[in-house]
Point group: C2
Chain length 440, copies 2
């Protein structure tokens, strides 16, 4: 059996590895337009910020290691078309290649900032490692940067640029950072830290053009022009699906591929995984897109397993997420108040401000937890958090709590570890639940 994989990211490589595990005799070929696979693109902002000392450290495996596992990775190779009827791919400069099963892990692109000058040099999309290496050198001589939209990567890049001593301007249509996902009270410590670091935050503003002589030197906006050495695109992710669309595969409301629980697309020989797919949200059943690397990897394993003849199902998602923005970790599960309200989902809210260790223990940090519950049943349906540590672990917990239908009463009476160096007497998740009950 010949299994072709489009994309060398977490989805594609997860799929390739799982397919090979199910059917070691399968010929597994991964096509990637990138120069490399098996590196962590999520680490790029932290190399720019000098938290990590070298791009080399982001590589997880060498090309040789993939050869040894029997996965045939074709680098810098672009798939130009998929023909589901004949089960062939058209490869740029090479002609046709057949497949028995195809797995699409084509990933995402930044939403286009479709204004004049968008093709100028000096406009940086943080994504590929070789490009990042070049950009990193360029940052050495940068004095100023404009970030267009304070999306997820932008949250990390602001901190990175500040560490490099670069003056930062943020231009965003929305009224606060990551406004499509985050509640304003949760992101407030980050916004305050940006203000303290003299980040010029232009909320409710948008780019009308980029200008400059070959390389961008000026960003024109609805509210005036900004001189800058560099522009960083921080827009939200959109699925990279022109190939799939041209092949007639069914796309959903988000523009991403519709898949079933086996990650099978509308064509029975084609599977998909990662940011090019949409997955039902566990609470609302609304298909959503643009999840995390661990989702992509797990979906890839599901797609690869099924493509090779095994059986594995992927479940609706509750989307625990988190990131480090300077000194603050932010994160959440499912949705916050802003998004729940926008979706018309009734909810009641409880919030608590706590601390991560005993008040007197070195390294103690504040942490704020907000819980959303369904009125009446008081089942947990969402959460948002900001704090100095312990956000990832709580998000994982609360995602499971939403999945299994835990109620606020359960959380209000939860037991918690108290030990001065590692946890405070009162667990903020529990206090938020107690506050929710007290507020009813």
């Amino acid at each position: 059996m010949r299994i072709a994989v489009i994309g060398g990211g977490a989805a594609g490589l997860g799929a390739a590895g799982a397919a090979k595990a199910v059917d070691p005799s399968a010929e597994v070929v991964v096509y990637t337009a990138d120069t490399d696979v098996a590196y962590s693109p999520c680490g790029i902002p932290y190399v720019h910020g000098r938290e990590i000392d070298s791009f080399e450290r982001l590589f997880l495996a060498t090309k040789e290691q993939y050869v040894n596992t029997g996965i045939d990775v074709r680098y810098e190779t672009t798939v130009e078309a998929i023909d589901p009827k004949s089960r062939t791919l058209r490869i740029a400069g090479e002609g046709e290649a057949s497949y028995d099963r195809l797995i699409i892990g084509a990933g995402w692109n930044y939403a286009k900032v479709d204004v004049p000058g968008a093709d100028l040099d000096g406009i940086y999309e943080v994504k590929y490692i070789r490009a990042a290496m070049d950009w990193d050198q360029r940052l050495d001589s940068c004095k100023s940067a404009v970030i267009v939209e304070a999306g997820l990567v932008a949250m990390e890049m602001v901190a990175a640029l500040l560490h490099r001593g670069i003056k930062v301007t943020v231009v965003d249509r929305a009224p606060w950072p990551m406004a499509d996902v985050l509640d304003p009270d949760i992101v407030e410590p980050v916004r305050q830290a940006w203000e303290d670091a003299d980040v010029d935050m232009q909320w409710g503003n948008w780019v009308t053009a980029f200008s400059g002589d070959g390389s961008v030197s000026r960003v024109e906006t609805e509210q005036g022009a900004i001189d800058t050495d560099i522009v960083i695109i921080g827009t939200h992710k959109v699925p990279n699906n022109p190939l799939a669309a041209a092949a007639g595969l069914q796309l959903g409301t988000t523009g991403a591929l519709v898949v079933d629980s086996r990650m099978q697309t509308s064509d029975p020989n084609i599977y998909a995984a990662g940011d090019c797919t949409e997955i039902p949200h566990g609470v609302t059943n609304i298909p959503i897109q643009g999840l995390t690397g661990s989702h992509a990897y797990s979906q890839g394993k599901t797609a690869g397993t099924n493509a090779a003849g095994g059986t594995r199902h992927y479940r609706p998602v509750f989307v625990p997420w988190g990131l480090l923005a300077g000194e603050w970790m932010i994160g959440g599960v499912s949705f916050g108040e802003t998004l729940a309200t926008a979706l018309g989902i009734e909810h009641v809210v409880g919030k608590a401000q706590g601390i991560t260790r005993a008040r007197y223990y070195p390294g103690v940090r504040p942490i704020t937890v907000k819980l959303l519950a369904e009125p009446g049943s008081l089942r947990l349906i969402g959460a948002q958090m900001v704090g100095g540590e312990g956000i990832k672990e709580r998000a994982d917990f609360l995602a499971m709590a939403v999945r299994v239908g835990l109620t606020i009463d359960e959380l209000a009476t939860m037991e918690n570890v108290y030990s001065p160096a590692i946890g405070a007497l009162n667990e903020p998740v529990s206090v938020a639940a107690q506050n929710l009950l007290a507020g009813l």
Copy 2:
């Protein structure tokens, strides 16, 4: 209504505050033999270790603050007897005091090391803050210390003594640290760190006498004598219940007070909370004793609420716990393999070694998670962990998972946050569950 409280720890003060909240007109009197209340005894080892710079920082509230809340705290006041029939207490040097409701939060003592010389000077029980201040000065001139039994406080005190440059010897009947609770593979990194720091570990040995001229200078053991400047008692907690026993209150198999879910003792006017009570273990229903400060506080609130005429129930416990032992956090939920085996509880096990952040991110630490499940149903029944960070939050999560009957399949398919600075691609809890399933 006159509510008397015996004990000024987390249980007693939690009870006093809750009683006052339910019935602000109640007269609430707290009797404590200690010189202070509202400090964190759990912080004492870390002041000895110099992680915390002053004992003053351990105080949570001033005596004045308690006066302002209307709680009458009687310091250095010993209750000598309880007469449930007449509802009176006998107070040392003061005579009788009546109560309408009594709450006993009398706490715990270290299990006695009942050998000759046990009353010598120089034998330190880490417990009271004023005594700790004196002992802390004494540690300045100490060159050597013998810790008798590697219980919970001993785990913290070894690190503290090493930070002070004091030569440490541990004498313990058991074959590894905290052997009554911890599995040997989980505690191994701590044991290894102790070995690396030249701690003299005498497992399978026990004290036969303390000797010295007024102050202890030698510990006699079954396997020879040890010269030492100081002895630290690290034995397990036993409930402090001579008063309750003399009053005829029902004690359970652990020697602790039997209470119902309202924390009511066998006498309807007497409630109890904290380390002097025993609480059913949620998995086995066996009454257990010697929980944490957060358990004591929560039980205190339950006892105080009910004593004052409110209604609040306390649930069986799943006991998330954790601590910092030098560079390693250890912790768990319910029980580990050793204890499950000793109790005759059938179980299957899955274990995983993971990392706490992306492999390349600064501060990344190893973490090991072991899960125990009921054969057949595969419901989670216990967990043990050791790692560099994130133990407390995972223990809280897994305690809830045991409480609500989550299965290994749920944990194997859990979603997790992946973001380089705060979490790794693979969550070790999930991988441990996957490994358990793979091993069946």
